[in-house]
């Protein structure tokens, strides 16, 4: 790794000031995506601003209608949280299936969302649940947050502080994992609300996306049968040694039906 300065602010204002005053400074959360990139020298930064010591950035609270998770919450904390288990158990299961135990002991919700890796798990839940992403400057709806491959609506120096999730009537997540990395080759999250069903797919395209025709069918009838045989167009989907676009398109259908089954079994 190239040398860098390192800062460990204890509140958000300090963190924001450091980011504003240091050219080419980057935020570091759990470091599970950033450090591998720095080690390979695919990126370099003059300074890192570590959010790990900021009070209150890690806590998880839940009312009946809303679950609120701090951006600094580790995946293992979300997986083990009684608040998450009580309100959105599918989200706890998703967090418990990220990577491996060591990745879950360091990686954070905010880091995953800011990174917007096309194969990350959380984006599917955040988009399907219609969550709000709160930063030190504003609140963004999931529908406008994810912009493309490793691209989000975040501005330079903007810090994700918290994510709030509306509590659904039922939800489920299913992923077809890469056996080597455990990232999603395709993952689908379904969430059923009184107003209708939302479906989001990760891993399939350059960025997480909603599957509207499945949403309509599942809003009519929340059963696997309602989306039997449905897939998505393979055009523009990811293709690599693990799976070509047409296979990923097929997997979106299979994972969606498994996610519905999981939601019905919960």
């Amino acid at each position: 790794m190239k040398p860098f300065a390192y800062h460990r602010p204890t509140d958000l204002a300090q963190a924001a000031a450091l980011l504003a005053s240091t050219p080419d400074a980057a935020i570091i959360g759990g470091g599970m995506s950033l450090l591998p990139v720095l080690k390979l020298r695919l990126a370099e930064h003059a300074a890192l601003v570590d959010l790990g010591r900021i009070d209150g950035l890690r806590n998880i609270t839940a009312g009946n209608a809303e679950l609120s998770i701090g951006a600094g919450a580790r995946h293992a904390e979300v997986a083990a949280s009684p608040e998450v288990a009580r309100t959105i158990p599918a989200l706890a299961a998703l967090a418990g299936g990220i990577g491996d135990p060591h990745v879950r002991n360091r990686g954070t919700l905010g880091g995953v969302l800011a990174n917007s890796d096309p194969a990350a798990d959380y984006p599917a839940a955040v988009l399907a649940l219609g969550a709000s992403i709160h930063t030190n400057r504003r609140s963004l709806l999931a529908d406008t947050f994810f912009r493309g491959l490793f691209t989000t609506a975040l501005e330079p120096g903007e810090i994700i502080t918290r994510v709030t999730f509306p509590v659904p009537l039922a939800a489920g997540y299913a992923k077809f994992r890469s056996p080597a990395s455990r990232f999603a080759i395709v993952g689908v999250f379904v969430a059923r609300f009184a107003e209708g069903v939302r479906v989001a797919a990760t891993g399939a395209g350059p960025c997480v996306f909603r599957v509207r025709h499945m949403e309509e069918a599942l809003t009519g009838s929340f059963t696997g049968q309602a989306i039997a045989g449905m897939t998505v167009a393979a055009d523009g989907l990811n293709g690599d040694i693990h799976a070509e676009p047409s296979y990923r398109a097929h997997l979106v259908g299979v994972m969606a039906r498994r996610a519905v089954a999981a939601a019905l079994a919960a």
Partner: protein, 161 residues
Amino acid sequence: MDVALEVNGAAVRHDIRENTLLVDLLRETLGLTGTHVGCDTSQCGACVVHVDGRAIKSCTVLAVALDGSSVTTIEGLAATAGGDALHPMQTAFHEKHGLQCGFCTPGMIMSAVDLVRQNPAPTEREVRAGLEGNLCRCTGYQNIVAAVIEGARVMRERQGV
């Protein structure tokens, strides 16, 4: 930048470069070479140590980020179980033939101990899931899984090690 840690029960204070990884502090500065580097890309788990009791990959954490934390490496593990020459999980790996070349073993054992502390009686399936972040190129995993189940049994008998 100054960093103060407790490593295997001893207070350690060093002025290090900000970009020092925990594994490099352990191996290069402190001479604790039991923690291995297998991949350097956060995949293999040869570098796993405990930080404040939880297993993490020491090749993917900045030492300065852990200021004030307590670190346990394979060298300090036996002492956490009352100071025998070997921790029960180490004995189980020995007895069940849970290693061949031994390169992955320190990380396997550190991961296994955290796994058993969270889940004192893991099933075979749970052991395999708990070791997903640890790769072994020799054993085919069968004996590693058997060793973890045996180590868990002894840890239960001796409660809380």
